[in-house]
Symmetry: D3
Subunit: 126 residues, 6 copies
């Protein structure tokens, strides 16, 4: 593990996905999934999200589109929260998902609209 890049990644990951969620993920990690936590924090967040070439808001939009295509609802919900943290409006999230309807197909878009709505409802309940 590269400590410097891990720390940089951890800071970005906490700012996007929420400090509470990220800290819990790392505290709950055991021998089995700790190497995955480290790999993700260092490469995904430190190496790629840490690049200055695109604003975080744009990276969030790309993720909503890709993760819809990849059909991973658990990660999608995390990144809907991340998108809001990075300044996307609900209207922009809506636009991204309407565009996925065309390219990924209608069932993919419907699933993402439903996942996002669940996130909005969970946030309203707090």
């Amino acid at each position: 593990m590269n400590k410097e890049r891990f720390d940089k990644g951890l800071e970005i990951r906490r700012s996007v996905l929420g400090a509470e969620y990220v800290d819990k993920s790392i505290q709950n990690a055991d021998d089995f999934n700790m190497p995955m936590q480290e790999l993700v924090t260092e490469y995904c967040w430190g190496e790629v999200w840490g690049r200055p070439g695109l604003p975080k808001k744009t990276r969030s939009m790309l993720n909503l589109a890709m993760i819809t295509a990849l059909n991973r609802p658990h990660e999608l919900k995390l990144h809907v929260r991340g998108a809001l943290n990075n300044g996307l409006t609900k209207e922009e999230i809506q636009e991204v998902f309407l565009q996925t309807a065309i390219y990924c197909g209608v069932p993919a878009a419907i699933d993402s609209f439903r996942s996002a709505k669940e996130v909005f409802e969970e946030m309203d309940q707090k």
Copy 2:
């Protein structure tokens, strides 16, 4: 077919993918694929690309990410050209594909880097 939306879609499609390419696609269409040309022009370009909610440059970035995930190199190459037409720099295309390496996996990103390079070389030869 809704003539008004088809015409709106045709205009956007020509501005993004290039008038020459689009006109040839429609002129070469026969009974078999003309309904697909119409559906794409109206639904994809008139209905979704025509929405004001996101700038075309952003829509191009979303497409590069999604089409990488969807593994459709022929469409990807068209949309690399479209992305350049919509004002993306090569550096921004690079950033999008680096992000796909993390989320869609390394083979997906390698394929998209190679496809984009082919487009750049085709354009340099003109």
Copy 3:
């Protein structure tokens, strides 16, 4: 939105997926997902399902096969109900899913058999 095509789509969608389900989807739609409801109703149902070129029963079979390949269990369950509404027998649904085992792989087919069984059990309980 093209009102005529939307209304045509709404009628077909209600006849296939069930009036109660569709009306609830539209009534529960808010600013966030209403544009998706409109897009789906108009293009998916008005434009494509409304084409006379294939019987609805055939379109239902195609959907069961495609949605199995696409791995979208929520939509699959809706379309199992739609398939029964369109006159497919359980034996025909079985045949479609056995064929998906060969082309989409065994895990895809097992998941679709399980989803369909859940639908049958929900229907028996009413």
Copy 4:
């Protein structure tokens, strides 16, 4: 290998994909891919295509839809030929692919229209 089911599968496979193509595939098989030829002939063609529950024409339509979703152009082209052999018209193939545009996304449908057109052109040249 179950000889009886292999022979049944071989007969069906030859009738759908063309005797010339199938015989060449088996004659050209070597130690490396012969077990795959046997598995496909027996399991795919003898076991599933040989079931009486759906007409071959319907099975062809399902395959065009599924193989579009699965993104396998080489197999798709074989099954476009198979579909014509099983009595599908070009208009019905068109309908299947228009429906894939909605469910699998526009890039998937565009690729399948292009593959089918290549098959038609190859057949016209003979």
Copy 5:
């Protein structure tokens, strides 16, 4: 159905996935899903798992990697149990999933780590 191959497949399937689970699957099968149970037992387990060319432990590793790529969590959890039955250690399962992070993308690997952890917790509770 080929009785001999079915019986061979049943024995292997029971030894990998657990006798209790497999017997329940077959006993609970009805007219709708029995042909699928037979197809899976005969081809998947009798024909392919029954081949001597690879040790069962290796086949389990291949399945964990493939099923992660295919995004089928229900089957993945079964095959995590199967992998333990076939002698994989948790450390080896961890290695397989870390490798999927690179090739299938981070969301795929995260989902598989989570599914595996659920299996481990279910087993600890017994």
Copy 6:
């Protein structure tokens, strides 16, 4: 970039995919794809292939299975060569692909058998 891990990754990558191929990839890289070359060498090869938890031969088998599922023929061909370099026999490659037929579906396996055969023929011609 972490120089130490890059160098470790480069060594492993050269030993698996062939020094000539890897050196050419890096020498031909330009500003556009060099960051991808670096990410792959460090993250994929230095970080994951460099882990001692699985033998390289096993990692090659996992890759053949995963890349078949992911439908990336260009990468698959590279990893067929890598698999031979890591000591897999043709018979073992055959077994991996027969197993993909069951889990990923027949079209996926057929494509991988064909890609592998192309690699074998290219190697025989040298």
